[in-house]
């Protein structure tokens, strides 16, 4: 699978946050976006996910047979973990993950596996309102393990995570890449050893 962007530009509000962005990420590769606040990292991730329209340019996701995915197929082959964690104080962690599994079209049994992968067993019965920032982050990252999807879009995945969880995230991501996955992440800190980075900055 490949993700190819050519000449992307996007506006937020009425400001052009970036233009003429080009990249090509193939299976097994990760692209880490750096740049100051407001340089458009989140906007770029949302554009890739199809959650925001673009002002100019072209974005394609190509499967292993070389066919360009439709918007629906693209939605079904990506995980988007933004900095909003989609956790409600009224729902227990278990219920939240079951709901997310349902939205992803994943079988409910995957929930237990995801809980084990992310070490969430002690939190499973807690309601969302009781979680700390780092725990919320972990629950929202656990979505990655609910269903196998090749393209991961991660927005500031390291924020609020403690050292063991950072290591865990790093392992899980490395394994995903080794299995032929793709990762595009926005981060202020070095992520995944910064194998390949792109720095966004103010235009003009």
């Amino acid at each position: 699978m490949r993700l190819i962007a050519e000449g992307l530009a996007a506006v937020r509000g009425e400001r052009v946050v970036f233009q003429n962005i080009n990249f090509d990420v193939a299976s097994g590769q990760a692209l880490v976006l750096h740049g100051p606040n407001g340089s458009g990292k989140t906007t770029l991730l949302r554009v890739i996910a199809g959650l925001l329209g673009m002002l100019a340019g072209r974005m394609r996701v190509i499967d292993k047979d070389g066919a360009v995915l439709t918007d629906e197929a693209r939605d079904q082959s990506l995980h988007f973990v933004g900095h909003q964690d989609a956790i409600r104080p009224q729902l227990r962690v278990m219920e939240t993950l079951q709901f997310h599994a349902n939205l992803l079209g994943a079988p409910t049994k995957n929930v237990d596996a995801a809980i084990a992968t992310w070490g969430l067993e002690p939190l499973a019965e807690l309601s969302g309102g009781l979680l700390s920032a780092g725990q919320r982050r972990r629950v929202s990252l656990a979505r990655l393990s609910l269903q196998r999807r090749p393209l991961w879009l991660l927005d500031e995945p390291l924020v609020a995570l403690d050292t063991p969880t950072r290591a865990r995230l790093n392992d899980i991501c490395s394994k995903h890449l080794a299995q032929g996955g793709l990762i595009v992440a926005a981060s202020h800190e070095p992520f995944l050893g910064d194998r390949r980075t792109m720095t966004l900055g103010y235009q003009e």
Partner: protein, 221 residues
Amino acid sequence: MKTFRALVWRDILIGMRASGGAALAAAFFALIIVLAPLGLGPDAGTLRAAGPGLFWIAALLATLLGLERVLQPDAEDGTLDLLRLSPLPLELVALAKIAAHWLTSGFIISLLAPLLAPLLSLDTPAIPILAASLLLGTPGLSAIGTAAAALGTSVQRGGMVLAILVLPLNIPFLIFGASAVSAAQANEDPTQALIFLTAASLIALVVGPIAAAAALRLNED
């Protein structure tokens, strides 16, 4: 379909567990009915004449109450992004939201209304018609309200704005609903009013999800 059910169930769970929850709409509805005699005087004749209208005005206001919670929190906490990425079409997402809102507001109110009917001296034959009119009409109120709530996701602090958008559009429900109950009290046939009420509700259930989905797509670019 499974996703649809999961979404409805999740919203009901949140609705029930949120402070006040579904009881809030019911309590608000009951309170308006209790306040009415205190404002109008306890004369049974006056209350009986005003009753159908009061019940329906109370229903309009009580269904308004939970609208802010229908989509605003989802837009704020990122759940809306997940809903947009899920294979469930946004029209069905909106329909699930309507269903959950109705089950925690209009439906409860419809069950509660017959118990409150004696407080306004409603005639006994009119009580089943009151319940039926609320059951038939309140889904439409939820549909219009959800469409407005979807527009409201673009608005910060949209509470009162929602009321201004929704209430004028709900007037046909008030007219047909209250008329059906009045007709039953006057020993006339309420069928015509109930048919019009149902028609208005059905139209709202078609237009509402489409408009709501269009409004949710606003966030796209």
